[in-house]
């Protein structure tokens, strides 16, 4: 039995992520299946839809990481092209939002706007775009434009990129496709005409794709720097964060929500969703033991050493993962792990902090890496997890979570079967979808120029 929405209590938003390149995925588990096969994506997406989640999310990485001059071989690697994969998933889901990370540095607005508009049409209004800016010359080697953009330029380009995409989506009005066969009028004159002149883009012509059902796809941002947070406050509908400990999460939440008024927006206009992991079992004790097991599988002895090497910038393969941290200092000039946005700055300071922590707590290399990797976010019996999620949201830590399962593709089966019903009973999570578009699931306005018929009318469950 699910209760009605509880008066005065915030509703929880939930998203599922199929992790791409990451060591959170316990691929050594015998139940782990392909990271690439469509059936894996189908399983997780349909699980999320059965759980009435807001959306399904895919991260992006455009170059395989390299470690000490060779491809990094310890993590799950390999991922499909986001928008292509989500378009296929649109065929096997009907309500679930579909969120793609697409980099604003290694793409052009005309094409990204077109692909996002296409996905919004093909999913009848379920598309979101996570606008990321992370870039370096290393990734640039796979692209025509190549190169590296300075911190400030990355967001300047991203902001202009997004503004341009919006101009392209708006270049067709909702009713521009008339399709009036008797009058012989297919479209309104001038549909799709655009001209944008700016610092990063000077483009004009005609956009090919009618206005997306949502007007504009949902915009997500995931930057953490001051510029990144400001960008989110000004432009985004959803912001992802890495802060899933309640104290840090609250301060991120306060900070970002506090920036909205400056941009003429109310706090409920932007949903803040930290990344979280969940371990559910019959009892709290069983869950805790299972969580330990998972974390140890995520940080294998080899992974622990590689993690340390990324900070030290040195070959540490001679060190014992079960022994103490090295007493030599990091090499400030060498970057052993390429293609990862962490570990670029402040490595000497990080090393000092880690060594102090390890000495204070008597931790081995592997134990230290397990400790700083943060472990699992929500661990316990179903009731414990449901209460913790509810508490986190009601007390100003988040508007919901992006759940990253450690097992592909069955990692959210238990959560959906056992925790979601409890959240529904408490009246803080929808018992069923009440809307068709992702904007509606998130309670966001539609960015539509004018009211037209329901875009999903012709679309039912193909």
């Amino acid at each position: 039995m699910s209760g009605p929405p509880a008066a005065g209590r915030k509703q929880v938003h939930l998203a599922a992520q199929l992790p791409g390149i990451h060591n959170v995925t316990v691929w050594s588990d015998p139940r782990a299946r392909s990271q690439i096969a469509f059936d894996s994506f189908l399983h997780l997406a349909q699980t999320a839809e059965r759980g009435r989640f807001d959306f399904f999310f895919l991260a992006e990485g455009l170059r395989l990481r390299e470690h000490k001059g060779q491809l990094y071989d310890l993590d799950v690697v390999g991922r499909p092209d986001n928008l292509t994969q989500l378009s296929a998933l649109a065929a096997v889901t009907t309500r679930l939002g579909l969120a793609a990370t697409v980099n604003a540095t290694f793409n052009e607005p005309y094409e990204v706007a077109r692909r996002l508009a296409t996905l919004d049409h093909l999913s009848a209004g379920r598309t979101a775009w996570n606008v990321v800016t992370s870039s370096d010359a290393f990734t640039g080697e796979n692209f025509r434009r190549g190169g590296f953009l300075a911190e400030a330029d990355r967001y300047a380009r991203a902001a202009e990129f997004l503004a341009t995409a919006r101009e392209l989506w708006d270049s067709w009005a909702d009713g521009d496709v008339r399709a009036d066969a008797v009058a012989g009028a297919y479209l309104r004159p001038g549909a799709g005409r655009f001209a944008h002149r700016g610092r990063h883009f000077d483009i004009s012509g005609r956009f090919t794709t009618p206005r997306p059902p949502q007007g504009h796809p949902v915009i997500i941002q995931a930057g953490d720097s001051d510029t990144g947070r400001e960008f989110a406050a000004a432009e985004a509908d959803v912001v992802f964060s890495k802060y899933n400990r309640l104290d840090q999460a609250r301060s991120f939440y306060r900070d970002v929500k506090g920036r909205l008024a400056r941009h003429g927006r109310t706090p409920d206009r932007l949903k803040i969703l930290p990344t979280a992991t969940v371990v559910v079992a019959d009892s709290d004790a069983e869950a805790a033991a299972y969580a330990d097991e998972i974390t140890r599988a995520q940080v294998s002895p080899q992974t622990a050493i590689a993690h340390l090497e990324a900070v030290w910038g040195r070959d540490l393969s001679g060190y014992d993962p079960d022994g103490p941290l090295p007493d030599i200092d990091p090499d400030p000039d060498s970057l052993t792990l390429k293609g990862h946005s962490l570990f670029r700055r402040g490595r000497a300071e990080t090393a000092r902090r880690w060594r102090a922590l390890a000495e204070r707590r008597g931790l081995s290399i592997r134990e230290l890496v397990i400790e700083i990797s943060g472990g699992q976010t929500f661990v316990g019996a179903p009731r414990t997890v449901a209460d913790a999620i509810d508490h986190f949201v009601q007390t100003g830590g988040a508007d919901g979570f992006v759940l990253v399962p450690h097992l592909t593709p069955t990692g959210l089966d238990d959560f959906v079967a056992r925790v979601v019903p409890l959240l529904q009973e408490e009246g803080v999570f929808r018992p069923d979808y009440t809307s068709r578009t992702l904007r509606d699931h998130l309670g966001l306005p539609h960015d539509r120029g004018e009211d037209t018929a329901d875009p999903a009318a012709e679309e039912e469950a193909s």
């Binding site: 390999g78 499909p80 378009s87 297919y186 004009s204 992974t303 679309e459």
Partner: protein, 407 residues
């Protein structure tokens, strides 16, 4: 039956290939941007056991003129990204090949290559690609990064002349396809090892940088997605002149050509062979299939197709013109023509339905049974991959071959 069976593909575009097709009786012009519209067409094509469907596309809006935009509002305008459209169809079908058009002049080669590889994974081995250069100069302003040649009215009267003017873009296209093929090969088939003992997910000796450095761009690689199920998804191109024939022989698995009779087909096949000879391609090791294009209006009733076409011509205010031969008649008459032209050395046909769904249904329920009766077309799918339908072998990764020969 002596010759091997024909291969048949259908080219899907908007409401059909007649500019007034959207005004035909059974057209659904208001639904062209919905998934359901395309799903109905693709599943119909799969019922007809066709080898594959193609999806047209361009990075500029449609125009009645080849080389510049127009401002017409009385024809279908607007389109969806074809790679995403093909992917949207993948889970709804199980056998038919899905071949989207994707641009090679303005699009990043890395993105196209991973997009087509993803389509191949999502469809379990049914992906193809039609790499398309941006022939219209106006499309370049959508990107603002470069200019491309502005063809003149004189140019467009002569395919050979167009081909020569666009030669640099075809050369670049050759590089783009080469990059895509290297990226598809960059993970060997057995690169994912999941070796718990050493903690290694991949054998990095089996994942390769591609280190492509061309005149226009470079790509370091490797791909971010493992090797596609087909190894190499099918690469196809439409060609009307020597420069694009050369592109096809350097880069493609299938070439679509536009003869207007059997003799013309023989002449084109000879030209393609000549281009292949100059390129040094070993056609036995790496076959190039030749498909002829036809734009068709089909009805069981003799003359009904002609009436339909004439009516559409009058709605559009002009007689239909096309680069491909326009055929009107019965499915039986079309079967006669296909079997006759095939003797010129063709492997199959890509048919452009004049109106949708009408002419597609005439193909699947009229033409196909007719060809089956004559023993010239499959009566069931006997493969699950697109390469399988076309009897093309699955190639090895060039990098694994390299290692074997180095041993």
């Amino acid at each position: 039956m002596t010759a091997s069976p024909l291969h048949l593909a259908v080219a899907l575009d908007g409401a059909g290939w007649h500019p007034a097709a959207w005004r035909a009786e059974d057209a659904r012009p208001g639904a062209l941007f919905t998934a359901q519209y395309w799903a109905d067409l693709v599943t119909e094509a799969e019922h007809g056991m066709l080898d594959f469907v193609t999806f047209e596309d361009a990075l500029g809006i449609q125009s009645a003129a080849f080389h510049r935009p127009d401002d017409r509002t009385d024809q279908v305008r607007g389109s969806l990204d074809a790679v995403l459209l093909a992917a949207r169809m993948a889970p709804l079908t199980t056998h038919i090949g899905l071949v989207p058009t994707a641009n090679v002049t303005h699009t990043e080669p890395f993105h196209v290559a991973t997009g087509i590889a993803t389509l191949d994974h999502a469809s379990k081995g049914r992906a193809g690609w039609r790499p398309q250069i941006a022939a219209r100069a106006a499309d370049a302003t959508h990107f603002g990064r470069r200019t491309t040649p502005q063809l003149t009215d004189d140019d467009v009267r002569d395919p050979e002349r167009i081909g020569r003017r666009l030669r640099p873009l075809f050369d670049e296209a050759t590089d783009v396809v080469e990059v895509a093929r290297r990226l598809w090969d960059s993970w060997e088939d057995d690169a994912e090892i999941r070796d718990a003992a050493t903690g290694r997910f991949i054998d990095r000796g089996k994942v390769h940088h591609i280190d492509f450095a061309g005149a226009h761009f470079g790509v370091r690689g490797p791909s971010i997605i493992p090797r596609p199920p087909q190894g190499q998804p099918l690469v196809t191109s439409l060609a009307h002149a020597m420069v694009p024939y050369e592109f096809a022989t350097r880069s493609c698995d299938v070439v679509y050509v536009t003869p207007h009779d059997r003799a013309g087909a023989a002449a084109i096949v000879a030209q393609v062979d000549e281009a292949a000879g100059r390129s040094g391609r070993d056609m036995r090791a790496w076959p190039l299939l030749r498909f002829a294009e036809l734009l068709v209006f089909l009805d069981a009733e003799p003359r009904a197709a002609t009436h339909r076409k004439t009516h559409l011509d009058s709605l559009d205010g002009a007689e239909l013109t096309s680069d491909a031969e326009v055929f009107t008649g019965t499915p039986g008459e079309l079967a006669d023509l296909l079997l006759d032209w095939r003797e010129a050395g063709l492997d199959g046909f890509r048919i452009r339905p004049g109106t949708l769904p009408h002419d597609l249904v005439q193909i699947t329920r009229g033409l196909v049974p007719e060809l089956q009766r004559r023993g010239a077309f499959r009566t069931a799918y006997d493969a699950t991959t697109l390469r399988g339908h076309l009897c093309l072998a699955r190639p090895n990764s060039r990098y694994s071959q390299e290692r074997q020969t180095r041993k």
